[in-house]
Amino acid sequence: MSTYRIVHYINQFFGQIGGEEQAHIPAEKRPGPVGPGLAFKQHFGGEAEIVATIICGDSWFNENLDLAKKTVLEMVREEAPDLFIAGPAFNAGRYGVACGTISDAVKTELGIPSLTGMYEENPGADMFRTKVLTVATSNSAAGMRKAVPAMAKLALKLLKGERVGASAEDGYLPDGVRRNFFEKKRGSARAIDMLLKKLSDKPFETEYPMPSFDRVPPMPAIKDITRATIAIVTSGGIVPKGNPDHIESSSASKYGSYNIEGVNDLTSESYETAHGGYDPVYANKDADRVIPVDVLRQYEKEGKIGKLHNWFYTTVGNGTAVASAKKYADEIAEKLISHEVDAVILTST
């Protein structure tokens, strides 16, 4: 029996090169499995092997999408694998986008089957779940022990050309492709079960989720910016030095509102970032690089804008649940409206 050849893509963190301070490193290729690849190896049971691992910095990939795609594709092509696996990326946004982008490219441009894994709220999931099989994982690397066997099982199915089951059977995010299978109970019985659960306020799972197209229509443009009050909001975690409200570096449980009356420039003495999802060196040195207080203050003086709102609102957008972000934004919006703010500049890292 011949062994199937797999190329595995991981980021700098799982490649054990480093954290955010190494997120800028370009792609490199190493022979054999690295990091999570070793766990995959156990689950392949000798039927498949990871012949090479591509390690790439998350920021480098996302900031140089075209070049990154080209570079990694070439590395994959050289190995001529039977399958490509990226991740799992859990809820790491840039890593998820990288995994989705590259698996999609390997599949469409090289014609090699590919597979990735991530948490359903990862932005990469929405972008690529209909293009690449994406195994549903938990939101943090603590879920590695569950994610690897699920991905390995699906990988072997793809390699052997076995039929992929429905998303609920094989544990991947719904990809919009219908796969028929026989339920053990007939429809009427399942519907009654669901109804009974619903009536008794118990959780139940619909078999036909309605698609959600949550789009907000654009608000009208600002007619006269020279009379407008502009507020700054950020998910980049800029806070007064010392992070007085202890906003968490990831999965933030709160946001902060900070007064910048009379502040013309953010300095390293008084501001820093609480964000744990990017290299903080540049923001800690000069937080204007994340929220442009200096320019907007100058524009206020020059009369180019009406006013810079005296408060800025900030949270850490690192693995933060969508429901939390929504809640913070609702509260922030209420404050903005009560202060008669006309427009918002929202910055993200």
Binding site: S59, N62, E63, G93, G236, T315, A333, V341, A343
Partner: protein, 77 residues
């Protein structure tokens, strides 16, 4: 956050580096930024040039706020 604030009735311009994420999330006015750890700066430039770079991005953001859009729009020029 962009979407919820806009839903509340305030126009928002989203300055961010990974614009595909912003499009997926549903921002309506998007201005591409410089880099993930320093969206509105570039530590390799002199302080004067860096300020100028930031000023241009802010100009673009203000222009986006002054522009009527019917759909998601990336202001990249």
């Amino acid at each position: 956050m962009v979407k919820e604030i806009e839903r509340a009735g305030i126009p928002v311009v989203h300055i961010c580096t990974v614009t595909p994420i912003s499009l997926t999330v549903g921002a309506n006015r998007i201005v591409p930024a410089v880099a993930i750890p320093h969206p509105l700066g570039n530590p390799e430039l002199s302080p004067g040039d860096e300020y100028e770079l930031r000023r241009k991005l802010v100009d673009k953001a203000l222009r986006a706020l002054m522009t009527e859009v019917d759909d998601q729009t990336v202001f990249d020029s």
